[in-house]
Subunit: 122 residues, 10 copies
């Protein structure tokens, strides 16, 4: 099971707003129907509240999906919920992009809070 | 004939809004005038309502256009109508891009509902 | 002379709005001052009114500029006027991009009507 | 010295608004401090008023900076001022991009008038 | 320690607004936890107030981070604060992009003031 | 069935050696096991003997594979045999590249005669 | 354990030589020291002897490395040995490319038999 | 008719061997069957003998094909013959690449003399 | 000083020949004349003898150049000598590519032994 | 006049063979006929004899062509001769690539000595 106990945080180091993006191009889980592996890229973007997720813990958390049978939509939704709970961010967005099956590749976006106006320009 | 009975759906797995994109780079139909094959990419994007289209059924539905004589505009319009009917999405957009004939390549966009403000930033 | 009689149309196949783009990467005309050929790409984008320009007729219309001595700006303006007259579109945009002379490459944009809000996101 | 007498114009060929972009990827001037050459790309974009700058004269004007000792910011500002004076455009934007010195590459934007809403979409 | 005394400025050469971007693709500092080097690109964008940062001094300032143990977020925040203090810009944005550790690459954005509306179109 | 009667030739227009390459990026056939369509690019290269294949006839010949259930290897082998028979070339090479199934993409090469020493340098 | 019993073959469909390449961009195994996952691309190229590996069985065989703790060099060597044993090819080459750890990415090549002279030109 | 009288030469400026390549990405002629324009890139490479073709004359010579009805193979062969006659080069190679008709793009190579061993490495 | 004691090896895991490449895109040292940092990519390729360099030790070895004042040529030569001494490879090649100073970027190649004929084709 | 007195050398730091490449993407000279500037990239590759050209002196030497009226072929030939004289290399190759005039871009190669067999593989 994806394991939220792996997620660590550290206090946000400044009160001036920051926007942060982490991209993991080495995400894999398993299709719950066929049992074949899925490969994708997971991008998280956030404006931190009181704390930020620690990078090594984030890596281990992502790795805990490796042998989990789970749909694209559920992966995306689950990561959003877990990170919102552990960081309490002002804004968070999770984007998953999948290499595809049967000639169709997919992208799923899940959000929390209002997109900061500076983001698109950064 | 493109066959809407091939389309299956599953219940949207969360009430928190998601945005979903599926890209099929292996679409082919036939020009109704010349009988020559057309090749293109079909992209669908949507904010699901109660249900989401199932990926394997979507692939088979796209394949049912293979030997259909049908214009670019009609392909795009037809996919929009069929997906709106089977998914009842809050928003749906169909974009078809065609490799072209006679040195001219084309792109057609058909929409349903209002583009979510988060999309462009995801 | 560019020949508008070459342009054919067909009735727009749906009342639901479509956005359409045709790109011709094989456009050539002649510089009216030096007599040297100009090479460029012509893109037209439109939201159709009652009728759409037929693709083969559009190709022949573009070819009729081949030996015409005409400036970049006049090519762009002329295509806009001819297509507005034959299609009566809700919106039309013509973009010409030129490979350039003397180390300077150029792009000219001519519009008719208001850009649909969905375009940038399609 | 950059030589504005080189700049010629011709009357804008239509009263319907056009947007025009010229890109010169072969711009060079000299750093006033070190005497080393600077290399860059100069892009001008404008919505013409009564007249448009003639392309060959623009090339010669750009070439007149070749042995001029002048800072990035001053090049950009000077081109804006000279073109505004000779064309009286409704809108003008000058963007200079520099290959850089000491591992840092730079981009400078100078504007005149309000960016037309159609530009970003053209 | 990053050394702000290295930063020199020169008076902004025009009262007409300019937008300026400097990109340093050769930034390196050290991870405070593991002691391993971090490599990234630092981009600064600003609308100058009374003075602009001098390029060579900016390069030396960036080099002073070379053997500093410092987190991504702190690098970004520190550069913003130092440049705001020495230039008093109307607007400043610092974007750091990091090649990543453990398969995750990151991007941090820190801002000061309101993004000028012309920026996205420049 | 792939239809060799579609293939026309014309006499090679010169006795001085030529090397010729035709690339068709719009090839499709059907997997004989699953019935799903395969999509690929077919490249033919040859040094002509007495005759060259005519381009329009080549296009129609490739289209005759559209609904044929046939393996990658057999497509490649078949095209080689058919073109050798109709053109009697000094050298012929057929390369098929396939978009892939189940995350694996493939390339098959079939040859006839000795590769001309000039080819790699052309 | 990587499972060679998964590998199926079919008789080579022609006696005329073919060269075949299969590329799997979704390979993953586990580092035997750290336990972290490795991600890479595996390319196999061969001139078949009496039989060719069947694609679906190849996919399942590659998937059987998913949770195996194994070094880059051993993966490459193992795949070569297993495929040589099951196919008896005239020539076989295995190339593994790895996304890397600690900022270093790697490529390993293992061969069997003499590279066919036509390969580089195909 | 393509006009060889347009071709001028100048004496090769050194007796030490040079290898020279000129690439014209703006070539157009007309299909002799359909009357539709063909667009392509013409590359010439040579080791000069006593004289080299002058660049402006080469451009005018290429332009003289503009309204000529002529096949791909004949264009390539004709340029080889004309340049061999006017330059007497030690080696010459003509490569034409065509944007294609009916989804098939082509490349033709015509040579004269032996490819210098240094070329591939230059 | 670059520290060869950091280099560890492990026994080559097979007697069948392997070719191995490691690419480090995060190399930095210091110019011995100006004191400014140099940034580059170091590629090593080898056919192992009795032992292979261990990846983590290679990373630490490369990091030991970080504050060393050393020329491009000496870096390349030094790495070759150190790796030949610790691995006794049948073949070794070191390629360094440098982002450059003063608008000139450089590449240095140092070799040991004869390049295996299979390399270029792998 | 291009000024060879600007060229400095330093003793080759090792007796083991090195191959060295320097690429200057910021070369400019003047067309002797039209007086318009030419822009290009100059690449030099060599296997050093007793001495290597010093990088800063090479940059100044290249800059001394800035206002020289000189043909492409003569630039290439001149650089070869000057560098052979000052370095006495075992092998030297000069490649100039020019952005072009009138739609034709050019590349000139001048060599001295025999290309080392390792070069193409480095």
């Amino acid at each position: 099971m994806p394991d939220t106990s792996l997620l660590d945080t550290f206090p946000t180091p400044t009160e001036t707003p920051l926007l942060i993006e982490h991209v993991n191009e080495e995400f894999t889980s398993v299709c719950p129907v066929t049992g074949h592996p899925d490969f994708g890229t997971v991008t998280i973007r956030f404006e931190p509240g009181p704390s930020c997720v620690e990078l090594k813990s984030l890596k281990l958390y992502f790795q805990s999906f490796r042998n989990e049978g789970i749909y694209y939509e559920a992966v995306t939704d689950r990561i959003r919920d877990d990170l919102v709970e552990c960081m309490k961010p002002h804004w968070l967005q999770v984007v998953t992009q999948w290499r595809g099956r049967g000639g169709i590749r997919s992208r799923i976006v899940a959000g929390h809070g209002k997109v900061p106006s500076d983001w698109a320009r950064g």
